[in-house]
Symmetry: C3
Subunit: 359 residues, 3 copies
């Protein structure tokens, strides 16, 4: 089998696209047949440049149509683009312009409104006419699905679940009883919302489950990545506030509260009852213990182990997570320990020789 992954064909003029984004086109119009990454783009494929490193390798670029981060360019770069007869637009928000561009080009039609005949809808549940339920979904009793919701196939939803408008639920998602899902939420494939938290009491004969009667609340504009797991609260709620985006394979334990507009990267784990502020960024594979508070606007480095409360506006990393600069200094000190030991040995030798210490 010939493996050709990249096949997004379209036919646009660069000028038309630039106009649609309200950007000025420098150079000749280009008839575009596609969009691609900088070093793969053919002459008639548009490419977007965010990174300085790409501009350092400008001569490897064959595309004749670039959208370039305006903050990266110098008069020298502009001169070279003109010499290479590359047409370009400058953008002060290239990621936003890329997003708007893709939205014009992408062909991912929504499912038709309506409920697939193979889906099983429980008693007293209401589904708005404008919403779509794919094949083989299960929706429990007393649920409400609002307007323009798109639920793909094989989604399992428990009882008494609320789903806000314009929410998209990808295949194989499980949503347990009493969950509340806001508007414009996106749940990627395979994530689990509202599974029972990891709570036990221990007696001589072993561990016994504490039943979990709480729920999960995902506010508006929240996104949950593939195969991530968000546990229901023991009592009360596990809540993720509006605008927070969570990547794949993330674990959010029972009774966690996450603030607004956070970014939580893949494989992060947050233990029970921890509260995370607003606009917090947590890089990949970091872990937070339970029952701590993370202040607003904190950034937590990749693989950090956070074992205590972090005040607002800090950048932390390492284990245990502390001020990022301090963490970097510690790492640098450890790298110098060979030299420390050498000097210490030398001093010790001198002092032994002089009779100052007993060798």
């Amino acid at each position: 089998m010939e493996i050709l992954g990249d096949f997004h064909f379209f036919m646009y003029s660069f000028k038309t696209l630039a106009d649609s984004l309200d950007l000025e086109l420098h150079g000749a119009d280009v008839r575009l047949l596609g969009i691609s990454t900088p070093f793969k783009a053919a002459p008639n494929e548009l490419s977007v440049i965010f990174g300085k490193d790409v501009l350092l390798r400008l001569k490897e670029i064959r595309s004749k149509a670039l959208l370039v981060d305006a903050d990266l360019v110098s008069t020298d770069i502009l001169k070279r683009l003109e010499d290479m007869e590359i047409s370009y637009c400058l953008s002060h928000s290239p990621r936003e312009h890329l997003a708007l561009l893709i939205e014009q080009l992408i062909d991912r039609p929504k499912q038709q409104p309506g409920i697939h005949p193979t889906s099983v809808i429980g008693e007293e549940s209401t589904i708005a006419d404008s919403s779509s339920i794919g094949p083989y979904c299960i929706i429990g009793k007393n649920c409400h699905v609002s307007d323009s919701v798109n639920i793909y196939s094989h989604v399992v939803i428990g009882n008494r679940v609320e789903i806000g408008n314009n929410t998209v639920i990808h295949p194989n998602v499980t949503i347990a009883d009493n969950s509340v899902i806001g508007n414009h939420v996106i749940l990627q494939a395979g994530c689990v919302i509202g599974s029972d938290g990891f709570g036990y009491y221990t007696k001589e004969d072993g561990h016994h489950r504490i039943p979990h009667m709480g729920c999960v609340v995902l506010e508006d504009d929240v996104e949950i990545g593939s195969n991530s797991t968000i546990d229901r609260a023991t009592i009360g709620e596990t809540r993720i506030r509006k605008g927070t985006k969570i990547d794949n394979l993330v674990q959010i334990a029972h009774n966690v509260l996450i603030g607004e507009n956070c970014l939580i990267a893949a494989q992060v784990g947050i233990a029970g009852s921890t509260e995370v502020g607003n606009r917090v960024t947590i890089a990949g594979q970091a872990g937070l213990v339970g029952h701590i508070h993370i202040g607003d606007d904190v950034t937590i480095g990749a693989q950090s182990g956070v074992i205590g409360t972090i005040r607002p506006n800090q950048i932390v990393s390492g284990y245990p997570a502390r001020n990022h600069r301090q963490a970097l200094k510690n790492l640098a000190y450890v790298d110098r320990l060979a030299d420390f030991e050498k000097r210490l040995d030398e001093l010790w030798r001198v002092m032994v020789d002089s009779g100052g210490v007993q060798g």
Copy 2:
């Protein structure tokens, strides 16, 4: 959409609940409309207090009905509860009492016994009449499902699988051929039991799969969290002994043996053929290499990297995992390296000045 996650309404007298738990009620009876977390509970909502920190913020509590960990209270606290006209019960096992309380209040009815007509049951498989199979389940050939089992929708079970009585299997779980699932087991949504282990032999032309003919055995009272993965053995078994509880997104590789009554937190990974003793606790994101032994009653700290055998009764942490106190000391030493270097520099300077060493 109004987002209101917390809606567990009931109507009980505090006295009746206290009686049912065999606890003494101090203060007036309270007519309860719900149960909630300490700082969110309304006056007519019961709250349970486990943590000393909560008692320090007593005046923020509005609930008039508390279940309090008896080990936390002093005569001073009791006096203040009375002054605030809060009724309370004291408990020496508050988690157990919370569990018993929730069991009375929770409304999570089991599915009706019987096999949903959309489920596909293979030849020679037997399902006890008292058990329930939800919609769109697949059960292979020569399986046996014992009494009072509750299998939710979209569960896929291979051939020759045994499932003990009173076991609960949540949606979207996959159980592969030859798995043996005990009594009173709980499998949370999306977990995978018995996938092929990561075993290859390598030749010049690349890696070749070693087929896995072994199986997974989950003994009685085992629980597996959402989206966790338990691989089948190459030959023989991957076995998790009775009473062990495993959290979400945990990886258990082929031929691992885990003892009784262990607690394994989220995102832990255990590599192939490692044996874990009884009553071992492994905190979140820890990793264990393959082919090692962990003794009984060991505790392994969060994010630890265990690369060798650990004797019984140890508390270990860090990378490589060692005695937890030693690991903490090492971390503290690293924090003092700036001071070490300063002193070393000063000594060095003095010794160079004195001609003792060559600068």
Copy 3:
């Protein structure tokens, strides 16, 4: 319930098996009733010995039929095997011979060719007659499934997906639009191929999704573990080259490129746009930041944090990942810090006493 996991019964002569593997049998023929792990095998069960530690415990072995790694044996060992009347074959590639052995013994029949009537196949999609689609699968529009493909139940495949011949897809897998899956690929249960990557642009009102128009390409002989997630590219592709094997719960972000014949263990995370060379081994729970290059034949230790480009043929570990020997040395130095401090204190004391420094 009696829990008996190990029940692979067959009836073979050891001589016949040895002949089939082209190995010489030393000792008498044995009538075999099964295959098991070294310390569990009964006298009439075959066992395979890879590890020196097993040979040190030879007297605990009851099996009378062993397949032994030829590199491990000495004349002394051979003598003892004869004394114990154990028949054996010596193998220079015991893992390969085990694999070939299991292939003869294992009874995992493929599904019958054909499409289960409950599966939903989209318009313009073609499924080869020799392929099998299990119950409750969804295949979108304009897909092509080649020859001898085995798709188990509850698999959800989007639009315009290509699947090469002899590929096996286990239950509950999700494959999103435009994915390209090669020949002889194995997708374990619950993995997600082609979910939207974690890409946003941020404005004052919060984070906004960058739509992902790229795809995922899995080349021939790739394997993806249970519940692993492979995100589609923003533009272009996320590509995993031929022969690479990925374990469970691994996260591969958008636009990552992984070379040929890599081994990536469980719970590894690779951030966006990173490029991994050929024959790279990444041990469990390691994390790689985005936009870096890993050279060919690199080995990355368990739990490592790789934050920069790694040249070919390196073995790296730790955080930040560096030369593995250096990382081990650093760990050893940290273990000696108590001694460092003691000596430093002593030198300091002497120098204060002598008036050399101010205490």
